[in-house]
């Protein structure tokens, strides 16, 4: 199982460690320094590990990969801990360590603080596994909520690191005790037979296809809902900055809806079909682009309305900036998906946390920074987006 997660020669362990080293050296060389309270480090380590471990355990694709494993005769406890340790190792080495490296690079920490952060990350993984087994028994749900709230309260209230470390160790012990008792099959999700729902009014519209895709994947829907909340709240924060025009920054942040921008990478069968059918550069990509643009624009509209209510002054230029950002983000995302889809991922988490997902948001943030500092650049950016659209349409039409 660990070979499936880390590669046949465990090459992902080496890659993960090299990535951490590069990140640490790059941030150190840039002399970026910040004051961060230890509880933020502990909270980040716990939350990142818990979230990523939960995603890995709940992934339906991962469950498919495990069906062969569950067919074999196994010792229950050994199997449970093999699964948890494999996923925990994967989460720690390939994901959490990167987060911790960033924290370690931007701020000076004592050895004890670093050790407790690692302990928090381990606890996050084991806690997620224990919670995963408890959530499946509905009556244990209140305990999960209590446990989670307890950890959250302790992170913020306990200032003595050694006492906090003991609390984390106790949580780890509690997770281990829970896992000792569970049936390994709790980690296998066989799916359930649902009554077949008929859709008689569809006409083969890609926009409808994508809406179904968005509404079926709860993670993606939550991400979009989260962005809507941020869109309403963001003007409160950004509005306080007076020297710079920070409004474009908000548009760029709101284009961070990365899950909907990896449709082809997520679904290799769809990617294959789209490449095999004729004329998909036009038929599929343009509609995909419109879909991302619509979602981006819907969120940006909330931001514009919220900004206007709080600060006023959201006029034609601001609407043009919102349109430009939403369109630019959509064009770049679709172009990247078409020309450089993420392939050869082992489990879904690889995709959700793949650096390529963040290329477009990074470009958008840089562009927003530029237009914020030099407002006359908005016109230039608009021309660039229109030129991109025109060139792409020309390529599609010629094909």
């Amino acid at each position: 199982m660990s070979k499936q997660l880390f590669g046949a020669k465990y090459e992902r362990v080496v890659k993960g460690l090299i990535a951490c080293m590069i990140l640490f050296l790059a941030v150190s060389a840039a002399e970026m320094e910040m004051e961060i309270a230890p509880y933020i480090l502990f909270l980040a380590a716990t939350a990142a590990s818990t979230g990523i471990m939960w995603q890995a355990l709940a992934s339906s694709r991962n469950a498919e990969c495990m069906s062969g494993l569950f067919m074999l005769p196994f010792t229950n406890r050994k199997m449970t801990f093999s699964i948890v340790l494999s996923y925990a190792g994967y989460t720690m080495v390939t994901k959490t360590l990167l987060v911790l490296t960033l924290f370690f690079a931007v701020c000076e920490w004592s050895a004890l603080q670093m050790a407790v952060a690692l302990l928090c990350a381990c606890n996050g993984c084991f806690m997620a596994a224990a919670w995963y087994t408890m959530v499946k028994q509905r009556r244990l749900l209140p305990f999960v909520i209590l446990w989670g709230a307890g950890i959250f309260v302790f992170v913020f209230t306990v200032r003595e690191i050694k006492v906090f470390a003991v609390i984390v160790l106790l949580s780890l012990l509690l997770s281990a005790l829970r896992l000792l008792k569970v049936d390994a099959y709790v980690f296998y999700n066989p799916g359930s037979a649902k009554p077949l729902i008929r859709h008689t009014k569809g006409t083969g519209s890609i926009l409808l296809y994508m809406l179904r895709y968005l509404f079926t994947n709860k993670n993606y829907l939550l991400n979009t809902a989260g962005l809507c909340v941020i869109a309403v709240v963001l003007p409160f924060i950004l509005g306080q900055v007076e020297e710079l025009n920070v409004m474009p920054l908000g548009f760029a942040v709101l284009c961070l809806n990365t899950p909907i921008c990896i449709l082809l990478s997520c679904d290799p069968d769809l990617e294959q079909a789209v490449r095999v059918l004729p004329g998909q550069a036009g038929r599929f990509c343009i509609r995909y682009c419109l879909f991302i643009f619509s979602v981006n624009m819907a969120v940006s509209s909330l931001y514009l309305i919220s900004w206007h209510i709080q600060h006023g002054g959201a006029g034609g230029t601001e609407i043009a900036a919102a349109l430009m950002t939403a369109l630019q983000s959509a064009v770049l995302s679709v172009w990247l998906e078409w020309s450089h889809p993420v392939r050869n991922w082992k489990i879904e988490n690889d995709l959700w946390n793949h650096p390529r997902k963040y290329v477009v948001p990074l470009i958008m943030l840089l562009a927003a920074g530029l237009t914020g500092m030099r407002p006359e650049m908005t016109g230039v950016m608009l021309c660039i987006v229109l030129a991109e659209c025109f060139t792409l349409l020309l390529i599609i039409w010629k094909k």
Partner: protein, 232 residues
């Protein structure tokens, strides 16, 4: 069967990793309105050949590719519009129903689908035409793509192990549709099941280690003869 060639490939070499070719200098010709069966052991290169024809692979070298005696490349739009592929493991457009998928494919090819109701009935698929593909079993998903393929009637129909996952009645119906397809175009299909090849094909190509090792035509197409070649 017409004497002119629909598709000609000369010395096609395909690889996934350099210095390890999956197809080696493979040459083949497909006539118009014929059924060609492709058989070979696992790893012989059947799916790789189909993926190359589909334009999915970049890593290949070919001396000559002709479509109706004119040069073409696998990703040319005109070629794509004249062929349709059903893969062995296909789960594409899973958030469409069969009817939506078929309508999307028809629009992509700029064609009207014909005989859909007859095909739906033949494959015993009536219950599932308005259900999302992702909610169907593997066999029913396969039927959705096969019905679309036969309703589209492209000049070249490429089927990768079409029998896999189908029940007995649908398999029998598939054989009859393949046999009837001569009036519309050419079928190139791969299979591990000798019976499916022998019951339908005008020609059989035996693929071994990336090359066409033996060809059978007409009366030569017998399960025992092909089995002997595969055993050697």
């Amino acid at each position: 069967m017409d004497n002119s060639h629909l598709l000609t490939l000369k010395n096609l070499t395909v690889w996934y990793t350099k210095n390890k070719s999956v197809l080696k200098e493979l040459s083949m010709k497909l006539g118009t309105n014929e059924i060609v069966g492709l058989i070979g052991l696992n790893g012989a290169g059947k799916t790789t050949l189909i993926k190359t024809l589909s334009g999915l692979l970049d890593s290949f070298r070919v001396e000559d590719t002709l479509w109706q005696e004119k040069p073409f490349m696998f990703r040319d739009r005109d070629f794509k519009k004249n062929r349709y592929v059903v893969f062995a493991e296909e789960h594409s457009f899973s958030f469409f129903t069969f009817r939506e998928y078929a309508s999307y494919v028809a629009a992509s090819y700029g064609k009207e689908l014909s005989d859909v109701d007859e095909l739906v009935q033949g494959f015993q698929f009536e219950e599932y035409t308005d259900v999302l593909l992702k909610e169907l079993s593997t066999g029913n998903q396969k039927k959705a793509y096969l019905i679309t393929a036969f309703a589209l009637k492209p000049q070249l129909l490429v089927l990768d192990e079409p029998v896999n996952g189908l029940d007995f009645q649908s398999t029998e119906y598939l054989y009859s549709r393949i046999n009837d397809y001569r009036q519309y175009g050419t079928v190139l299909f791969s299979s591990h099941i000798l019976e499916s090849i022998c019951l339908t094909s005008d020609r059989v190509l035996v693929l071994e280690e990336g090359r066409i090792r033996k060809r059978f035509t007409g009366q030569e197409i017998e399960t025992d003869k092909i089995r002997e070649v595969l055993k050697e």
